[in-house]
Symmetry: C2
Amino acid sequence: MKIPEALLAFLNRERKFFIATHINPEADALGSSIALSIALESLGKETIVYDKDSVPEIYRFLPGQERFTNSISNSIRRGGQISNLILVDCNDRERAGLENIEFPYSSVIDHHETAREFGDIKWIDPKAPAAGLMIFYLIRGLGAKMTEDIAINLYSAIAIDTGTFRYSNTTPEALRIGAELIESGADPSLISENLYETWTENRFRLLLKVLDTLEIIDNVAITSVTIEMFKETDTAAEDTENFTGFTRMLKTTKVAAFFSEIEKDYYKVSLRSKGKINVAVIASTFGGGGHRNAAGYKIRSGLQAAKDALLRAIKQM
Amino acid sequence: MKIPEALLAFLNRERKFFIATHINPEADALGSSIALSIALESLGKETIVYDKDSVPEIYRFLPGQERFTNSISNSIRRGGQISNLILVDCNDRERAGLENIEFPYSSVIDHHETAREFGDIKWIDPKAPAAGLMIFYLIRGLGAKMTEDIAINLYSAIAIDTGTFRYSNTTPEALRIGAELIESGADPSLISENLYETWTENRFRLLLKVLDTLEIIDNVAITSVTIEMFKETDTAAEDTENFTGFTRMLKTTKVAAFFSEIEKDYYKVSLRSKGKINVAVIASTFGGGGHRNAAGYKIRSGLQAAKDALLRAIKQM
């Protein structure tokens, strides 16, 4: 993995950085940003770590998660401008909810396929299994110490984006870096417990209701959640994190689709695929995006019409 | 990992081997046995690979699984004796259903904690995450080629016993060997799909019924299946493979227990634990066994009495 010289020079030269990542952040976005912040500060730099949304409850085990702020402080926002942006795990301002801010100088570190034109320095590697893997090399390239806190953040980042080494992006390199991160202090079982085994009973009951909605049509496994179900189980949309992937376990599933009601006739749709079907392309036809095997979009329509539109789009692939 | 010299000498010296593993075999038992058979045969040896039970449907993707036989041929059984036994992933004759056969010369390769006195050559390493890891070193020690078929079997073996690198037995070494096995031809996503994502719809409906039985008592998450549920969903006991671990996802779960009705007032009980609770010890009080975080036993009693007995045993830990 080749780090652009301009990126290293930029990080070595400047003293203050504004690290931002995408809305609805998960462990790759969060862990990568936190790890980079810890490493840069260990080299005497100052960082602000920003996400428009708060850190979801389930990711609050990440050491250093309290670095995240969702307010853009006045000290940084000089006349609506922020310099020295480092955009992590996304590659345009909109994904970070920063569309109204000007960035006189900015860098991008991302592994998503749908690259936009934003950024003075761009390091976009769609072959990287996780942004966390890129940050691992970057931290090493900067000569910062791989501390236990950094290791936990990067291991979590790589774990969530590879399904802890189950998805097709699991490379020998990802496993070897995982091994190094364990040696630097990441505890794989503690991290897996935190990522996958900290469900509340309410969330579990919600999952059962969602799985009961299963329909299988043309190898597409469709599940859905309604606002009513959230009420019945005292849960919220953030409790459905990772619900989409459950129906991948069915042998016949080629695409798993999960429809989450945001408001009447407005749905968030999450897609997961097995094998070669590129759901990022399907999501982009509805104005969304993502990775080959995990993508999403939002749609204003009734549930049945939204399902039908998706099935048509998949058929046309 | 130190392979006993006597084991290498035995495998190099002899020409015919009877490789056997435990009843109710899973991917570690199966993959380790198949890999060893392929490697020994590549060195000009003859092997018979034995399991008392058939290879479960979900493990028939393992290349070389057709090597398994569940009949002890007369050519081997000279007067009720079998020489040159290699017992894999278990360490006594009973676990392999071979209690009535004499073994004039035998070796044991295992990583279970509850070691018995059986075997002329014993290589028992409870620190090994999987028997597959031991076989990896053994194959290298024998100088056999690490073929794609061997790699797939060993990767599957390590994957199933570490929860694909999620359990507390996930070591840097396990990840690095995983990386080597990918380089030798194991496809991590294809293996994960085969291990976790080949469910029939009937099996999925059975899981939903089982999860609906959830009770949480003193941080023990209890689920159960009845013969009636098997009938309703056209499934059988082997379809409940991996059901026990599902309720580990609940934050409050310290022990996950799954009661499977074999016949009226007779249950198979599977236990999984998080963290430090040693369920092998609990299972052994009921005449069963296993690993620290995964164990099981059978009990003749009604369901409620069986649950109560387990809860008492856990409390006394």
